[in-house]
């Protein structure tokens, strides 16, 4: 019976977490779109800062990883495909691998590692230092001032970083690994664009927006769960990172199934 008790508690706890994360993500969008009048100046500042830290400051590492991935994919494709006359498949490979899957997933993982952990530990530290109590005492609702800007900032950043990642992977990969090979740059680009369907782009962008919302919601939720002890900060930060990665992969599977099966 004991094992059933553990399994039951774990499942209930997971479902409760999912509910709270979903609530945070949806209420953040609702507040951003329809109820941003109260406190908008202070809140806008937090959104801009979040986009700066999560999006703009991530550009160097995103660029390095995108170029490395582009080199790997283009090198492998250009070496293997000619063996069976399949040079023209380079477009399909890049669209299937980079745009449909790796772009959104890798951008999300980089944001989780950089900003998800930072958001959880920052809010945890604010909780321990009574900063959140002070905000509430001033009539500043933490969900409006702390959670919503981080969720919206993370979603915007992952969305834009995914687009940037995909463009850099495809272009950088050719320029560094494919240049001078049998396929010209013009043919390469038109091959990729010709293969890319409307659904590929929509699926990629939809995934990235959902991943960003989830990263923001999971990270802020765990940050706010820190109580009064400083030792809870690393514990909740770790949980935020693990839960975010897990949910990103699960959602990726679900969205891929919805769009492409």
């Amino acid at each position: 019976m004991y094992i059933f008790d553990i399994i039951g508690r774990t499942v209930l706890s997971f479902l409760n977490d999912l509910y709270e994360m979903g609530y945070l993500a949806i209420s953040s969008i609702e507040t951003f779109l329809f109820h941003l009048i109260r406190g908008r100046r202070a809140i806008s500042g937090v959104i801009y800062k979040q986009i700066y830290f999560t999006g703009i400051e991530a550009l160097p590492i995103i660029s390095r990883i995108a170029i490395s991935l582009g080199i790997i994919i283009v090198t492998q494709a250009m070496n293997i495909l000619p063996l069976f006359g399949g040079e023209r498949l380079i477009g399909e490979i890049l669209v299937w691998v980079v745009i449909r899957e790796l772009g959104p997933i890798l951008a999300a993982i980089i944001v989780i590692a950089r900003s998800g952990a930072a958001m959880a530990s920052e809010l945890g530290s604010m909780q321990v230092n009574n900063e959140i109590t002070a905000l509430e005492a001033m009539g500043i609702e933490p969900r409006r001032y702390l959670v919503m800007p981080r969720v919206i900032g993370a979603a915007t950043s992952v969305f834009v970083l995914t687009l940037y990642f995909e463009v850099i992977t495809i272009l950088g990969g050719y320029l560094l690994a494919g240049f001078g090979k049998r396929i010209t740059f013009g043919a390469y680009v038109s091959n990729v664009l010709g293969t890319m369907g409307f659904m590929d782009i929509i699926a990629s962008l939809f995934k990235s927006a959902i991943f960003g919302l989830i990263i923001g919601a999971v990270s802020t939720l765990h940050g706010l769960r820190v109580g009064k002890s400083i030792t809870e900060i690393p514990q909740q930060t770790t949980k935020a990172v693990i839960s975010s990665i897990f949910l990103v992969f699960v959602l990726d599977g679900i969205i891929t199934a919805i769009f492409f099966i």
Binding site: R41, S125, N130, E131, A134, L135, A137, M138, G139, I140
Partner: protein, 229 residues
């Protein structure tokens, strides 16, 4: 003083509160706090001084009884309405509660940016004035993290007073301060009280002897789960 009592700004009726650990903190407490008063709430650690402040602010909810702020039962209010009432209260917490990722001046600007339609220039001007008013002489663009406890509390003073509240609450203001700093803090409390006509000032402290320097209208003591005058 009694003749000057006009409004009951905070009223507690039949308050009954059990903490999360199951300990009964308040049992059938009735009390009123009036405009223009200077009140100290004393009592040893752990008897509920900070809890009482949290209850005043609606941060904790009592199991029984009512708390009225400015005549409104806060238990019946929706979140935006409660936040509206909180704008009329300036709070300085024991550990200051200064937002660590905002610069010093941004901390003071925050309530003004969030709750008012003042122009950015006016907000900045008022924040700089308030920091000067509380005696802050450091870099207004510094992050507050490394600042000493006393300095953080002065910044919290400036932030608390920014919306010109009708009620000022100082929770364990003198904790962690030496005699000179305590004296300066009490000077600020006195100064702020006199600045606005009919302002109610409430401070919690462990020991009455710590506040001999300040004139008080009432000293309340938390004892046996009740508030005694």
């Amino acid at each position: 003083m009694t003749q000057d009592r006009i409004d009951k700004l905070i009223e507690i009726s039949g308050l009954y509160y059990i903490a999360g650990n199951g300990i009964v903190i308040f049992e059938g407490v009735d009390a009123g706090f009036y405009s223009g008063e200077r009140v100290a709430i004393t009592g040893p650690h752990g008897l509920g001084k900070t809890t009482l402040i949290r209850l005043f602010l609606g941060l904790d909810k009592p199991q029984k009884g009512t708390i009225c702020l400015f005549g409104e039962d806060i238990g019946m209010l929706e979140r935006p309405e409660l936040d509206g009432l909180r704008q009329g209260i300036g709070v300085v917490l024991e550990d200051s509660g200064i937002v660590s990722n905002l610069k010093v001046v941004e901390n003071v600007m925050l309530p003004l940016q969030y709750h008012t339609e003042m122009t950015s220039d006016n907000i900045m001007e008022r924040a700089v004035f308030l920091l000067d008013h509380v005696g802050y002489r450091g870099d207004i663009w510094a992050l507050p993290g490394p600042l000493p406890s006393y300095t953080k509390k002065t910044i919290a003073f400036a932030r608390a007073i920014s919306l010109d509240p009708a009620i000022m609450i100082y929770d364990m203001l003198l904790e962690g301060l030496d005699a000179v700093q305590s004296s300066e803090m009490l000077g600020l409390v006195d100064k702020f009280h006199k600045e606005k006509k009919d302002r109610l000032s409430i401070m919690t402290i462990n020991d009455e002897r710590d506040i001999k320097e300040i004139t008080l209208d009432r000293i309340l003591r938390i004892e046996n789960r009740r508030i005694l005058e």
